[in-house]
């Protein structure tokens, strides 16, 4: 039981070129900024958007392959889909919503209702069976949407931002519930989210999607330990410089140089933690730090007793210093500044 998908699709300004694999019993989170194409990937897998190139194979069944002109309709794919905002049918009772998929597949009405009732039991909403969906809270609506999607026994469950429609107050408890219910489903699960907290709490592995490309796959710990995209670097809060290493110096596309300690030559990422960046009012002479860059302060954000200083220049950087240091230097936005980092504080890994 695996999902293997190579998705190529041009849709307006979105240029999607994605390769994904989900193993049996695994929950993969597709994490990325808005507009990266996450929801479109789900639509392709569900059969709501045909792909231009590539192929989608669910559990050995080829559901989309333009090369051989194969396209299995959405209703014939072994999938369940939990939509953002849940999309419960408001002209039916909660029970009829859960029974809908079975009825659509020509299951006897009484059998469909019995199965639907079992599912409502499982998600703890038996007493809402005869209510209209509009009577439900956001968390309850999500459970009904999950029960509705799982009632047809899909092999692949797709979840599109299942927590985004909830307010911050209930999100944590609904997330815990969702985790519990997802653990009881032994098929493949693919979750789309823009919130790393969801991915951390629910997923076995994450795939980072940025501008239509999967830029990184792994456990969340692996992904955040060595960011390979601006998106993940921002998420973790580190500086990331992509470039080419020649003779212990990494040069990026705009010509900035980063001196590094012992790294192999070739295309690499250099990760600079903000607290490794030291700031000076004037150019420094005779320092042990191998790197000094001059720039201009763009913004100063206080986070408790630490301060994040954004610097624009040949190498855009974020530095983290103490409030005391900020006061001593008297820094303000627009000031010229010299930033310095020791080569040994920079982590380098091949890209």
């Amino acid at each position: 039981m695996t999902l293997s998908a190579q998705i190529g699709l041009q849709l307006g300004t979105l240029d999607l070129e994605v390769e994904l694999d989900v193993q049996a019993g695994e929950l993969l989170a597709l994490l990325g900024p808005n507009g990266a194409g996450k929801s479109t990937v789900l639509r392709c897998l569900a059969g709501l958007a045909p792909i231009d190139t590539g192929s989608i194979v669910i559990d050995g069944l080829v559901v989309d392959d333009p090369a051989t002109d194969t396209l299995v309709e959405a209703e014939d794919r072994p999938i369940g889909f939990v939509f953002q905002n849940y999309l419960l049918f408001d002209h039916m009772s909660v029970l009829e919503n859960v029974a809908f998929g079975l009825r659509a597949r020509k299951t006897q009405k009484s059998d469909a209702r019995r199965t639907a009732r079992d599912w409502l039991d499982r998600v703890g909403l038996t007493e809402y069976a005869d209510q209209r969906p509009r009577a439900l809270s956001g968390g309850q609506a999500q459970r009904v949407a999950l029960a509705r999607a799982l009632a047809t026994s899909p092999r692949l469950l797709l979840l599109d931002e299942p927590l985004a429609a909830l307010d911050a107050g209930t999100r944590a408890s609904v997330r815990r519930d969702l985790r519990r219910h997802l653990e009881t489903f032994d098929g493949m699960r693919l979750l789309v989210t823009h919130d790393p907290v969801d991915a951390y709490a629910l997923a076995d592995r994450v795939a980072i999607l940025d501008a239509g490309r999967v830029v990184q796959v792994g456990t969340l710990a692996e992904v955040t330990a060595h960011p390979r995209s601006r998106y993940v670097a921002d998420l973790v809060g580190v500086n990331l410089v992509a470039g080419n290493v020649v003779d212990g110096v990494l040069a990026n596309a705009s010509g900035a140089h980063v001196v590094i300690a012992d790294a192999l030559p070739g295309p690499s990422f250099a990760m600079i933690r903000p607290h490794s960046v030291a700031l000076f009012r004037h150019t420094v002479d005779g320092s042990s730090a191998r790197n000094t860059w001059s720039g201009t302060i763009t913004d100063i954000d206080r986070l408790g007793d630490r301060v994040r200083v954004g610097i624009e220049g040949q190498l855009p950087l974020t530095a983290e210093i103490t409030v005391a240091a900020l006061d001593a230097l008297g820094l303000r936005p627009g000031d010229g500044i010299t930033a310095s980092v020791k080569a040994t504080d920079i982590e380098v890994y091949p890209s």
Partner: protein, 276 residues
């Protein structure tokens, strides 16, 4: 409280209020005029008269048939216009709603040359199926459907365009075919608009005169609907015409009053579900 009420009422500019009152009077006065001239003492005998009852029954039956046909053919047409992009869609829409702006008599003439015994299609209906539409009750239904269906089509089309199509996506991912989705998700979602469109189409069919008299003629018991009976009796027996007119007004007014809040008031909300 009372001063705040006064304040709110005066927020409406006086000229607007005055013009609105003139408009209301414009609609109310003809009604009052009819009631004023109605021969109330002989009302019962006129209204229970065989001719009047026959015309009334024919009107109700034909207008309901026309409404039914408008729904059966109009909803798929509205769906096509709302959801399928094809070349010349604008032209097709204009063609299908043309009879709203066309003088009904012109519509009747056109129907005659299309479906009459010597008409473009009518000659084959006659020759092959022995079906003749002009001057028959079925012809009345055809004429009424011709002028009434566009009201349903434009109402339903607007609602289909507004509807959140992701509900249909959700239905498909649950294993529902396109047809099942259309019946169980799309149609219920546009229910209020469908109801409103059906009422409008029915009202238009009930009042139809020009196309009916041109295409179906004016035979009592066969093609003479209420509007035709009113027009005819106006020349021979004005008192009867007045009473028949009042009867039509009462029927239409009651239906509009009864259905307005239920259907017309909710057209703007096709499927209001959680969190959308």
């Amino acid at each position: 409280m009372s001063s705040r009420h006064r304040g709110r009422r005066s927020a409406l500019p006086a000229p607007v209020l005055a013009l609105a009152i003139v408009a209301i009077a414009f609609f109310a006065l003809p009604l009052v005029g009819l009631l004023w001239r109605a021969p109330w003492s002989s009302a019962w005998s006129y209204l229970t008269d065989d001719g009047a009852l026959t015309a009334l029954r024919l009107s109700v039956v034909c207008s309901l048939w026309a409404t039914g046909l408008s729904i059966v053919f109009g909803v798929p047409l509205a769906w096509l216009l709302a959801r399928v992009e094809f070349r010349g869609r604008g032209a097709v829409r204009a063609l299908c709603t043309l009879s709203m702006v066309l003088p009904p008599v012109v519509g009747g003439v056109a129907l005659f040359f299309a479906l009459g015994r010597r008409g473009l299609v009518g000659q084959y209906l006659d020759r092959w199926f022995d079906v003749r539409l002009p001057f028959t009750t079925a012809g009345v239904v055809v004429a009424q459907t011709f002028v009434a269906m566009p009201f349903l089509v434009i109402t339903v089309e607007a609602s289909l365009r507004q509807m959140d199509t992701r509900f249909e996506d959700a239905s498909r991912t649950l294993g529902a075919s396109r047809w099942y989705t259309f019946r169980r998700v799309t149609v219920p979602a546009i229910g209020p608009a469908l109801g409103a469109g059906a009422v409008l189409a029915w009202a238009r069919a009930l009042g139809e005169f020009g196309a009916t008299i041109t295409f179906a003629g004016n035979f009592p018991g066969k093609t003479q609907t209420m509007p035709l009976a009113v027009y005819l009796s106006l020349q021979t027996n004005p008192e009867e015409a007045i009473l028949l007119s009042i009867l039509m007004i009462v029927i239409s007014f009651t239906v509009l009053l009864g259905l307005r809040d239920r259907w017309l008031g909710r057209v703007d909300r096709p499927m209001g579900a959680f969190g959308v």
